[in-house]
């Protein structure tokens, strides 16, 4: 009897999970469907069955070269993530394994920077970028994306590292491991799921970042967020074209998310040593 209830519960839970997942995914699905409609079909109300035309994609590609924006997005998201990990792993290690009096305050302070609206610092940042010649440069934007995502990266890694028993590291030290060996051969392999999910999440965050990437770029460093923005028109909704541009922009990250979902979910829901 108990088994029957649990199966019933499981069925309900699964159904609920599917409904929630569909609800969350539906806007993306509808965007993809709309991208295969003509403009006239797109404004004619709700319709799940498009005519299958690819005219919007042709128009989008003809209007602005997609690949330049795509390459910039890849460079910026991957580059900023590697940069962030290089800074965050040592920072999280020191906070997790040799916390000082102010560690908690530093962590809170780091997080508090995320609470400030980005626009509040637009002018100072813009002036710094202007004076250092970093406007519309990939390196400048990579540093910017690294900085804005750093608090989250440090926090996530700190949480994973904290779950690794200090005794394991102590044992490594007893065996004569240097600090470098301890981080590279003992800590990192144990924290791989955590580091991987942090990396994936950071890539997604950097990929979708649309405030700084639009405001600090013009032509050379502009990523896919700028590409989508250029299809928003004051002369009409042009839903089909906008949907085609959005689909092209989210497709790479969607595919990456699909293939790495196990890693992502595991890293986000389990601790390091469970």
């Amino acid at each position: 009897m108990a088994r029957a209830v649990s199966t019933q519960h499981k069925t309900i839970a699964t159904a609920a999970a599917w409904i929630v997942a569909l609800l969350i995914f539906f806007p993306i699905l509808y965007t993809i469907i709309t991208s295969f409609k003509s403009e006239q079909e797109a404004i004619q109300g709700f319709n799940l069955f498009p005519s299958g035309t690819t005219e919007s994609y042709t128009a989008v590609e003809a209007q602005s070269g997609y690949f330049k924006f795509f390459l910039n997005s890849v460079f910026l998201s991957v580059g900023s993530t590697i940069l962030a990990l290089l800074v965050a792993i040592p920072a999280a290690w020191s906070m997790a394994f040799s916390p000082g009096k102010w560690t908690k305050d530093i962590l809170m302070w780091m997080l508090s920077t995320k609470m400030m609206p980005a626009v509040a610092v637009l002018f100072p940042i813009y002036l710094i970028f202007r004076d250092t010649g970093l406007l519309d440069s990939r390196i400048g934007l990579m540093i910017m994306l690294m900085l804005i995502n750093l608090p989250i990266v440090v926090w996530m890694l700190y949480t994973y590292f904290r779950e690794i028993p200090g005794e394991i590291l102590e044992a490594a030290r007893m065996d004569g491991a240097s600090l470098w060996n301890e981080i590279v051969y003992v800590l990192t392999p144990m924290a791989v799921p955590g580091i991987a999910s942090t990396m994936l999440l950071n890539i997604i965050l950097a990929w979708n970042e649309a405030f700084w990437t639009i405001r600090l770029t013009t032509t050379e460093a502009a990523p896919l967020t700028a590409f989508i923005s250029s299809f928003s028109s004051p002369q009409g909704l042009f839903w089909a074209k906008l949907s085609a541009a959005s689909t092209l922009a989210i497709a790479p990250i969607l595919i990456m998310g699909w293939f790495s979902q196990k890693q992502l979910v595991r890293g986000l829901t389990f601790g390091a040593v469970k």
């Binding site: 403009e39 404004i43 639009i214 013009t218 032509t219 002369q235 009409g236 909704l237």
Partner: protein
């Protein structure tokens, strides 16, 4: 073999040298049909100016405004040519942020620019931006529904007629709303429409001493008329409808009348995008018998920021893109109906254009009926028909727009909205030093 290698080497070297010599100018623009078309026609410009390369940055209107403002205020130098509107030009020119356009060339024919538009883009008689396309606003209506209602739309209707027609055309059971008007909050959205409308009711934003006028009966009449008209005959959720939303509604056949930008005429009459393309008629924006109509004046224009290092190349481009020859180029490649409207008087005298664009005369009449220096019945201290050309207007206009949008949504009364608008405007103007 050696000779071939040498020739190839020389060729590559000269190509590299040329590429290094070619000057690249960056143009910031909005994504609309005319601008996108220009990007496809730039081969003509680069053929005539092989030493200038063009780089385009296309942005959504509000993002563009924010980006170019940031860039010009900090002298960031990211852009050499900017697409800006009639609101920005007088303010930025007074700040010395724009270069005067005095090298447009001998055959440019500045005098051919429609006077109302040229006036809006000049400060003290000097042109600071060249119009790429200009627009006013007018009534677009469904001829079939008007006929069914037993009415005939006059060329120059009154607001009372619009109300009467809207009541007769509204058929909510069949999804037809008598009239669709902007309700989405924003200085360039509902306030563009309402400010222009208020002019025909004799209202004004400020008196000669910059005292806000929302406590005057003219504003009460305007807002009450608008809210009543829309509640009885407008679409559901009108308070979130802007230009794009109303365009979609009209194209789907859900509006009897729509009062909005003249540039919309080419979209609602395009059978590819509109289900009512062959049923649309046009009339001047309504009036109330006070001598002013409720139509606005706007021109997307090309201007050159003072911080650019490439002023000469930029001016060459502006001259090309806004010349008479450019209009002929578009006509030759894409037909007269696709020529950017509202900038040159000669275009409206062209019989081929008149034939291709049935709304041409009404557009020109609407543009000529707007006077940015005398927008309303009583005198005002500001320039601008549907806006007030002061830096504070973007913020204040949007605040007032939110209050009026709330009145339309029924969240607040017309009287409360006007009182709050008066308070907000008084505070802004006092803070800005306009009211001592």
């Amino acid at each position: 073999m050696k000779l071939r290698t040498l020739t190839l080497g020389l060729l590559s070297a000269s190509t590299l040298a040329f590429a290094a010599h070619a000057e690249s100018i960056t143009i910031a623009t909005v994504n609309n049909g005319d601008m996108v078309r220009m990007q496809t026609l730039t081969d003509d410009f680069t053929a005539k100016n092989p030493d200038i390369q063009l780089q385009w940055v296309t942005l959504e209107e509000n993002v563009l405004r924010e980006r170019v403002t940031t860039d010009i205020a900090t002298k960031g130098g990211q852009y050499d040519v900017m697409t800006i509107g009639t609101y920005e030009v007088p303010i930025w020119a007074k700040q010395s942020w724009l270069l005067p356009l005095d090298k447009l060339g001998d055959d440019y024919d500045v005098k051919d620019i429609i006077p109302a538009i040229a006036g809006g883009l000049s400060v003290d008689g000097t042109l600071y931006a060249a119009p790429f396309y200009g627009e006013s606003s007018f009534v677009m209506y469904r001829k079939d529904l008007m006929e069914k209602a037993g009415l005939t739309m006059p060329d120059a209707p009154t607001w009372d007629f619009v109300k009467q027609a809207a009541e007769k055309m509204t058929d909510r059971a069949n999804g037809v709303n008598g009239v669709c008007l902007r309700g989405k909050a924003g200085w360039g959205e509902n306030m563009a429409f309402l400010t222009a409308m208020s002019n025909s009711f004799g209202a004004r934003w400020f008196d000669e001493n910059w005292k806000p006028q929302f406590d005057q009966p003219e504003w009460k009449n305007t807002l009450q008329f608008y809210v009543d008209l829309m509640k009885a005959n407008g679409p559901e959720g009108a308070s979130s409808n802007g230009f794009n939303e109303n365009l979609a509604l009209f194209q789907q056949g859900k509006c009897g009348m729509w009062i909005d930008a003249t540039v919309a005429a080419s979209f609602v009459s395009d059978p590819k995008n509109s289900t009512v393309a062959d049923k649309v008629g046009y009339a001047l924006a309504p009036d109330n018998g006070l001598g002013k109509r409720g139509n606005w004046l706007w021109a997307w224009s090309l201007a050159i920021p003072a911080g650019t290092q490439k002023a000469d190349a930029a001016q060459k481009f502006v001259s090309w893109a806004t010349s008479k020859a450019y209009l002929e180029l578009v006509a030759a490649k894409e037909g007269w109906a696709n020529v950017p409207p509202g900038t040159r008087t000669s275009l409206y005298a062209n019989p081929e254009y008149q034939k291709a664009a049935p709304f041409a005369k009404m557009t020109l009449d609407s543009i000529n009926a707007a006077d940015p220096t005398h927008p309303t019945v009583k005198p005002v201290p500001y320039v601008g028909v549907q806006f007030v050309a002061i830096p504070e207007f973007q913020g204040l206009g949007t605040t007032v727009g939110q209050l009026f949008s709330a009145a339309l949504a029924g969240q607040t009364s017309v009287d409360d909205a006007l009182k709050q608008a008066q308070d907000a405007a008084t505070a802004t103007m006092t803070e800005g030093g306009y009211i001592q």
